[in-house]
């Protein structure tokens, strides 16, 4: 979790006692062992400051006198980095990378909140209780909260927490994470840790993920939540570091629940399109669609098969197509119509109009008319620009 405040007002901040050290040595997050975790640890909060002047060597911050730490500059914004549950007592591996990424993006006071004593406890419920005093020590400075959910079915929260809540891949199981316990400890921490990697990736401006406001994940997957009108000209908010640009509108909206899907590895961002199909079969057709985008250099494919879609005569069916990578410009599109039926005739989906609209702002939609999609058979065509449509 990470909180940011625009101006640094640290003087009245700390309620928990912590040790003060003014030595020249570098401070690290407290390193504990599994033994400590099994025995249980009592809460102790330390604040470690990193700035561009000391980006690799953390300095302890005093709650009475933060200015005593030479590199602390109150004119710079502050970014707090707070780790979560540490069942093994080890310091989080991602913290150093996170600090480096934050400092390379912006000149801030990066303050790592080290509460490993308190977070390292085999009793998860005890740790949950400790989060309250930790949060209390800084929350009254925070005016804007963004929360990312990646593991809400295990060590996470299901309900909305912040001004904006992100539910990555629906908020529970993350792509690429083991589904069974046979994969060892990874099974327990993969989903949980993903949030950190997603956040780290979000600092790279070319890999930004757009989050879509929606009431639930299945509506989002069905392409029902692609409207960003409530955010006016700025469009839907991005996930992660740069969401602060949407701070004002999000504060005004109160609470916003958003969804997005990711790849299983970095870069996590997907390339999204709205797919609309108008068919003319006189009987209703059900099925899913596989779509491939190609140009001379790249090719990417996605299967929109999380459910069977209904294609009704002269009715537009909307689907959300999300590709692992960006293919631009698209020169060829391949479509395949797939049904779950086995012992039935090979169905045909008779398409009047196919339209693929990039979700990325400023890119033009692509169309093709009069397609006959025979079940399990690829149909390849060159998309044409879409004009004004009447149906």
């Amino acid at each position: 979790m990470m909180f940011r405040i625009t101006h640094c007002l640290l003087t009245a901040m700390i309620v928990m006692p912590f040790s003060i050290c003014r030595g020249e040595e570098c401070e690290q997050i407290t390193d504990l062992s599994l033994k400590d975790s099994l025995r249980g640890t009592s809460l102790e909060v330390r604040l470690i400051l990193y700035t561009r002047e000391n980006s690799t060597c953390g300095k302890l911050l005093s709650h009475d006198d933060p200015f005593a730490t030479p590199t602390f500059n109150p004119t710079r914004p502050c970014t707090f980095l707070i780790h979560g549950y540490r069942p093994t007592g080890s310091p989080p591996v991602w913290m150093t990378t996170m600090v480096e990424s934050i400092l390379s993006r912006k000149d801030v006071n990066a303050i790592v909140v080290d509460w490993n004593r308190g977070a390292a406890n085999i009793n998860y419920l005890r740790v949950v209780k400790n989060t309250r005093p930790v949060a209390a020590s800084i929350t009254h400075f925070i005016r804007f909260v963004d929360a990312l959910h990646t593991d809400m079915d295990a060590f996470g929260y299901r309900d909305s927490l912040g001004h904006i809540d992100y539910y990555a891949n629906g908020g529970s199981d993350q792509p690429g994470c083991p589904k069974t316990i046979f994969s060892g400890s990874k099974y327990f921490k993969c989903d949980h840790q993903r949030s950190v990697f997603l956040y780290l990736d979000s600092m790279n401006q070319s890999r930004q993920i757009t989050a879509y406001p929606c009431s639930d994940y299945s509506d989002f997957l069905d392409g029902k939540c692609l409207s960003c009108e409530r955010f006016n000209s700025s469009g839907c908010p991005v996930f992660g570091y740069d969401v602060t640009e949407w701070k004002d509108v999000l504060l005004k909206l109160g609470q916003t629940k958003t969804f997005f899907t990711t790849n299983q590895d970095a870069p996590f961002c997907k390339s999204g399109y709205k797919l609309e199909i108008v068919s003319w079969n006189s009987e209703v057709r059900w099925g899913s669609i596989t779509i491939t985008l190609k140009n001379s250099a790249e090719e990417t494919e996605t299967r929109i098969d999380h459910k069977s879609f209904k294609f009704e005569q002269y009715t537009e069916t909307t689907l959300l197509a999300q590709f692992e990578q960006d293919v631009y410009p698209v020169q060829k599109i391949t479509l395949k119509y797939v049904t779950a039926n086995v012992l039935t005739p090979r169905y045909k989906l008779r398409v009047l109009r196919f339209r693929l609209t990039p979700l990325k702002h400023g890119l033009r939609p692509m169309c093709r008319y009069d397609l006959l999609l025979e079940e399990n058979k690829d149909v390849t065509f060159r998309p044409i620009p879409c004009h004004h449509s009447n149906f």
């Binding site: 108008v278 003319w280 079969n281 006189s282 009987e283 002269y314 012992l343 039935t344 005739p345 090979r346 169905y347 045909k348 008779r350 009047l352 109009r353 169309c367 093709r368 008319y369 009069d370 397609l371 006959l372 065509f381 060159r382 044409i384 004009h387 449509s389 009447n390 149906f391």
Partner: protein
Amino acid sequence: MDIELNELKPSVNNNDEVDPRVEVHPGNGSCSNHNTPSATEDSRLLSDAQAAGSNGEHCIVAGIPDDQSLNKPVGKLGRLKKELNEPVCWNLKVWMLILISFLLIILTILLSIYFCSVYEEDVDDKYNVAEFVVPRFFRGNFTLLNKNLTLDAQSPPTDPRLILQQNLTHIYTSSHALGRYFINATVNPLRNSKSSVEYELKFMMPEEHKQIILYTLSKEMVYHVLLQELIDQDTGDPLYIEPSSLTMEVGS
């Protein structure tokens, strides 16, 4: 095979008298020899046949009438096995024939499902052109890239007007949605232009066509079917039509 265990009681008068209960009952399904005179110390309780055979195995007992043995489970099973192994013709045995007929039945079911699924016709593939009685026209212009072409009447095989007409006809007859409604295309050079061409497309619709003119035979559809073919055409074609020059209006 079940063999009921009977209690064997020692005879009262050793060797002399035979207790009727001692005798192994043939109904027990065991392979006892019913003809064993008596169970004495000298004679064996079990016949040679059973002693030799393993327990539960069928054995043929001599001297037992056939109808009696029929009532025994052992006999039934044995007979069945025997009958199954009887050759019918050539080397084919009964059990082989039964297996073959089963396989044939399954094969017939699978084949019929397969053929039904492949050959079942789609309702949208069936239509009667005679029912299409209401005409619908589309008219418009397009420009040829080749400005040096003369579109005036020439001998039929090279007449560019006829070739354009054929090209338009081909585009619409091979259209999945529009092909069935398409009648013909006519092309005429525009009077004041060398490379501009005027065209007319004629379609016939069924009596009930309220939805058809909104969707399938809408201007958007008829226009884009032609436009996408123009975009796809080979740029080296002497009759290359400039896609951006295409216009279309619904005629009456």
